[in-house]
């Protein structure tokens, strides 16, 4: 018993003394604290890691370049365990204990919802990166550097229209992403002359989706739309290959990363992935102003982590860059001033696109910032200019 108590005490001691890991410091002066909310464990944890790496590096780079007007940035990162409740607790902790002036992070719609609720209540800006659609009237303090989910549906539909694909079947994962995909597909299908011939659902943890595919196959679609990310997306493609369904499959914009490309490396089905520029910097033309930003950041990212930044880390890198940019000119970083600063930010070149925020647009990016790629031999090839 005594031993156990000693163990607990030791644990507390280590815990309390090991304070915050994950920021580098060079400039002196009171640091600006930014809170990072990432899913480091739980079912979204593979995403969280990318976001964490990218944002840590970005803060490091800013501090190397003498911070913001001589004051360093400090990034305090916590794990939301892929749970909205935990995310809410963390946001509260960041706001009241760590005195964060802004928050970044989150990876799913529900988690963003929980964080948004606290950001609004406490008037602390949160720049999230998820499919959460920000309604500036209600979410006064929430911004989103991820492209609008609408773009991830509308842009590929544009490609389908060009290719003459009119019959689309939906195979949606059970969950917030699937719901969004289904709603948006129905919203945009008419304007691109697409008919939705059928819809099925599947559990993202299921080992096999051939039953759903077989049912959809009977409807003779020309393309399949499965709005999911990572393993389930790869599973859908693999099962399609198994069943000789050789039609293009459109997956979510989250899939443009090396991890996914590895998963589908030997699957012979055309996979269409919408994504931002950061996902495939080689595929974008040199004239694109974002290319320079991406290349500069990737150089350091590869040096540090042995892999380039990707679509997820880019969202967070842009979020930090935006906060840093606004802080440069804002005197006294209160939540309201920061919010107003971001809302007035125009033509800011990030990795994801050129941001133009306004009081009525908290996303800042436009439809054409979303690219459409096809996966071929483990690489992304641009389909739409």
């Amino acid at each position: 018993m005594k031993k156990f108590l000693i163990f607990i005490l030791l644990l507390l001691f280590v815990g309390l003394s090991a304070t915050n890991i994950g920021y580098a410091q060079k400039p002196t002066g009171e640091p600006y604290v930014i809170g990072g909310i990432f899913p480091l464990t739980g079912y979204l944890s593979w995403l969280g890691e990318y976001k964490k790496k990218g944002s840590e590096l970005k803060v490091e780079l800013i501090n190397e370049a003498d911070g913001i007007n001589g004051r360093p940035l400090k990034l305090v990162i916590y794990d939301d365990q892929s749970s909205p409740e935990q995310a809410a607790k963390i946001a509260q902790r960041l706001i009241s204990k760590d005195k964060a002036i802004a928050m970044i992070g989150t990876a799913s719609v529900p988690i963003s919802g929980a964080v948004a609720s606290l950001a609004n209540k406490n008037s602390i800006p949160a720049i999230i990166g998820s499919g959460y659609e920000v309604n500036p009237e209600k979410d006064r303090f929430v911004f989103n550097t991820a492209h609008k989910t609408d773009f991830a549906v509308a842009r590929p539909f544009q490609y389908f229209k060009e290719k003459g694909i009119t019959k689309l079947a939906l195979l949606m994962p059970i969950g917030s992403l699937g719901e969004l995909g289904s709603t948006l597909a129905r919203k945009y299908a008419p304007s691109y002359g697409i008919t939705i011939v059928g819809e099925e659902k599947f559990d993202v943890k299921a080992p096999d989706v051939t039953a759903q595919l077989a049912k959809l196959k009977t409807l003779k679609p020309q393309a399949l739309f499965s709005f999911c990310t990572g393993e389930p997306a790869a599973l859908v493609a693999r099962n399609m290959a198994q069943m000789n369904m050789n039609i293009p499959v459109l997956v979510s914009h989250g899939n443009a990363n090396p991890g996914f490309l590895k998963l589908v490396s030997n699957v012979n089905v055309p996979i269409i992935v919408p994504a931002g520029r950061a996902a495939a910097p080689d595929a974008i033309p040199d004239s694109d102003p974002c290319k320079k930003v991406i290349a500069a950041f990737n150089k350091r990212h590869i040096a540090k982590f042995n892999e380039p930044a990707n679509y997820y880390s880019a969202e967070m890198v842009d979020a930090i860059a935006i906060i840093a940019e606004v802080l440069k000119t804002t005197k006294g970083a209160t939540g309201e001033k920061l919010r107003d600063g971001i809302e007035n930010l125009k033509n800011f070149v990030g990795m994801q696109g050129i941001y133009n925020f306004s009081p009525s647009d908290h996303h800042g990016t436009v439809l054409n910032d979303m690219m459409v790629f096809e996966v071929k031999e483990g690489k992304l090839h641009m389909l739409l200019k």
Binding site: Y78, D79, P84, Q92, R93, I95, S96, G113, S117, L180
Partner: protein, 320 residues
């Protein structure tokens, strides 16, 4: 009645005083501390209820989060979609939970041990699936946002401190009610059913009625916890009401001390504060939490409350 007995009856004064002054101690960090304690309080309501069901009546549940969800969603839907006042919505949630518990309680509680565990687990999954699929009403997997703050007779709880005192008031109420039940003949009846249901019935105890009754009561508690949760969070999604949440509650029960009422409360408090201390271990957090739990289970069969009692005995406050 001597002084000792009077003091024992007033068990709640010391914790109440401590909890009352906590926000004053932490001053500028009080929003953070009270935020954690609000969640802890909500889980105490759940854990204490579960202890009444499992520790006393002996009915295993691996799906306690299902009624937590029903309460939360009743409150959220009624206030967001139909503009009903939070208090009324909470009462409706309690009524609905009680009704569902009453309907499923009779057949399901006829099951024993692992079969009961599986049935409750399945029920939890069904509730989650329904919440996800009845999207037009529940907001589906993306959740429901903009749930208004709780208000009581025209007073709206704007900040964490308001919620903190309100939630803990409810916690004390629930714990007091539970203690009253446990100390009364009802508590002994539950022990009898837990211990030997057949024998209990030969003393005229209608075990089905009592099991169902307790099931209804603890699920009404869970529903209240759900309502408090929904209004405090301002946002709810199915992610937080799954089987893993139910399993978490079980862990609170056994960590704190099964069948002691105070134990699960301590367990809930501990488990909601522990992550705040192990954040720094990042990737090692999961492993450390698992190991701590294993150590408690192996070395403290009576949970953390067991240590407390043992210490009390040593100092000389013997029981009875």
């Amino acid at each position: 009645m001597n002084i000792m007995e009077r003091l024992k009856k007033a068990w709640w004064i010391l914790p109440a005083v401590i909890l009352g002054i906590i926000p004053l101690i932490f001053k500028e960090k009080s929003a953070y501390v009270s935020g954690i304690l609000i969640f802890a309080g909500i889980y105490i309501i759940l854990a204490v209820g579960l202890d009444l069901l499992m520790g006393y009546a002996g009915q295993i549940s691996v799906g306690h989060a299902s009624f937590f969800a029903i309460g939360a969603y009743s409150s959220a839907i009624l206030t967001v979609k139909y503009g009903i006042s939070p208090l009324l919505a909470m009462f409706f949630g309690m009524f609905l939970s009680g009704l569902i518990a009453w309907i499923i309680g009779r057949p399901v509680l006829a099951l024993k041990e692992y079969y009961l565990a599986m049935a409750t687990l399945a029920f939890n999954e069904i509730v989650i699936t329904l919440i996800i699929e009845i999207e037009w009403l529940t907001g589906g997997a993306s959740g429901l946002k903009n749930i208004p703050s709780f208000s009581l007779f025209g007073f709206t709880m704007k900040n964490n401190l308001h919620y903190y005192y309100f939630v803990w008031f409810v916690v004390f109420l629930v714990v007091a009610m539970t203690i009253a039940i446990v100390k009364s003949p009802m508590g002994r009846t539950l022990i009898a059913i837990h211990s030997d249901e057949v024998a209990a019935r030969t003393f005229g105890i209608n075990s089905t009625k009592y099991k169902t009754g307790i099931f209804v009561l603890v699920n009404v508690f869970a529903s209240v916890a759900g309502s408090l949760y929904a209004h405090y969070m301002g946002f709810i999604a199915p992610d937080d009401f799954g089987v893993s949440t139910s399993v978490n509650m079980l862990v609170m029960l056994f960590l704190g001390g099964f069948g002691t009422i105070y134990g699960p409360a301590i367990g809930a408090l501990f488990l909601k504060i522990l992550p705040e201390l192990t954040y720094f271990f990042q990737d090692y957090e999961l492993l450390i939490n698992g190991v701590i739990l294993i150590i408690v289970l192996v070395f403290m069969p009576k949970g953390m409350y067991g240590i407390f009692v043992a210490m009390k005995r040593k100092i000389g406050f013997s029981r009875e």
